[in-house]
């Protein structure tokens, strides 16, 4: 069940230029959190009313704290980046469904693109099977070293400065990676590519989507995505990303 909490900031550091890593103490939320779920973070300044959805990047072993890794994209994330250890922040979570963990028999590819990489870290930790981890960047890499303990890591960069030059699909193809299931989070063009790739190779693909959110809990219908079939809740071909997602089977949604 989602809860609202005034979380304590345990640490905050700039992991790469403009990318921040923050640990929050929030036992109420951490104890039942799952990889692929997200939090709503609220701004302290009263002129910014909407929550900022940020994925769970890691859950502490004792399940009392959560790690978030986020990019300074605008006013809200800029405010968050200014917070220090000891400050508090209003958060709600854990929200959404999270990634379903497949059994240990399968071969999985985890794909993260840009700021879609953070949620793959906790997933990599919790997935108990053979894993290839493909991380796509524009240029500067971040968080990539932390994936090493959990599987074989492949990188792609748009400028070719690191790993394969190109995108994550290029990296998969060049490294001839095989899989029964794909988990992916990243920008929509990347997800489209992954969906097409998975379909072509007949692989089950779980995609984590992004959309602007207002309530974060399924009440306002701001964050919908088109669906192939009529959605059980909305009774139209539209589903709530914050509630039924953010993780969907690729074949069930339209991108």
């Amino acid at each position: 069940m989602a809860v609202y909490d005034r979380a304590l900031i345990i640490s905050q550091a700039e992991a790469a230029p403009g990318i921040f890593s923050m640990w929050l103490e929030t036992e109420k939320i951490a104890k039942e959190a799952k990889p692929g779920q997200f939090l709503s973070l609220y701004c302290g300044s009263e002129d910014k009313l909407l929550p900022r959805p940020i994925s769970i990047c890691e859950i502490s072993e004792d399940r009392t704290a959560l790690r978030l890794v986020y990019r300074v994209a605008g006013k809200g994330t800029k405010e968050f980046a200014g917070l220090k250890a000891g400050d508090r922040i209003d958060v709600m979570g854990a929200l959404g469904n999270g990634f379903p963990l497949s059994g240990s028999k399968v071969k999985a590819i985890l794909i993260g693109g840009g700021i879609g990489i953070p949620p793959m870290l906790e997933l990599a930790k919790e997935l108990d099977c053979e894993k290839s981890i493909v991380l796509g960047y524009r240029d500067l890499t971040f968080l990539d070293k932390e994936f090493i303990p959990y599987g074989q890591v492949y990188l792609s960069t748009e400028d070719g400065s690191c790993g394969v030059k190109g995108n994550v699909i290029n990296a998969i193809e060049q490294n001839e990676l095989q899989a029964d299931v794909i988990y992916a989070c990243g920008p929509t063009p990347m997800l489209k590519g992954v969906k097409a790739y998975a379909k072509e190779h007949n692989i089950t693909a779980w995609l984590s989507l992004e959309e602007r959110m207002a309530c974060g809990i399924g009440a306002c219908l701001a964050c919908v995505c088109k669906t192939k079939d009529t959605d059980h809740h909305t009774h139209v071909n539209n589903t709530r990303i914050c509630k039924e997602g953010p993780v969907f089977l690729a074949e069930e949604i339209e991108l």
Partner: protein, 301 residues
Amino acid sequence: MISTKVTIAGVEWNNPVTTASGTFGSGMEFADFMDIGRLGAVTTKGVSFTPWTGNPVPRIAETASGMLNAIGLQNPGVEVFVNRDLPFLKKYDTKVIVNVCGKTTEDYLKVVERLGECDVDMLEINISCPNVKEGGIAFGQNACSVEEITRQVKKYAKQPVIMKLSPNVTDIREMAKAAEAGGADALSLINTLTGTKIDIHKRKFVLANETGGLSGPAIKPVALRMVNQAARSVRIPIIGMGGIMTGEDAIEFLMAGATAVAVGTANFRNPMATAEVIEGIQTFLVNEGINDINEIIGCVN
């Protein structure tokens, strides 16, 4: 003992706080965070006769102390509402107000008729949604059509009818009087002000719908002015809304002449917002030594 009971069109609420339509779903999602039974009333998301898909995304954008929305009244239709959402709401000791939307007068009447068979306390008729091409605001920006649709709805309605007015008009008093003349039992205002936002890097509108409805604290001064103008123009009770975040904000609306208030955008900043508004009102009454909330309604006039 302080009394916070108010009576709107013969329906007694335990306190003057309801939810603004579209910001609280049918309450289910908020039940994790608060006791819905504490609300004076729950006002539901707009309900149409058939399911509506709404607008393409992005549907919302943040603005200074406000937000724009262009949800486009997505909803599963009145049958799903009656069979799924209404039974949930009836478990609580609160009044149920169903917000009704339509594209044609007939649409509205079919929903009103269907709800007439149900255990619903009041109907709120949304003639002021700026986000649908047909119906919605078109009905709400002209005094004659406000009066006419009110009269039609009243013919079919089994419950008291609240007409929800659009602020996108030259003179809100005219619209308030037209609704009253058409037989409305109460008014609610304001719905959102039409606005827009541009992404200067992409050189296009942020919302897929181009424009959306502005809500939140940014619009509170306009909402208060209109509630006050309406309250001075009609005898029927008013449910005031627009940017209410705290108990103090709610008190402003009551003093301006509203008999009750609705909390909307605040639910997105804080899922316990409505409960905190109720507490804030109570604290104010205690501190000021007011025994009955009805004493302050319209007291600035």
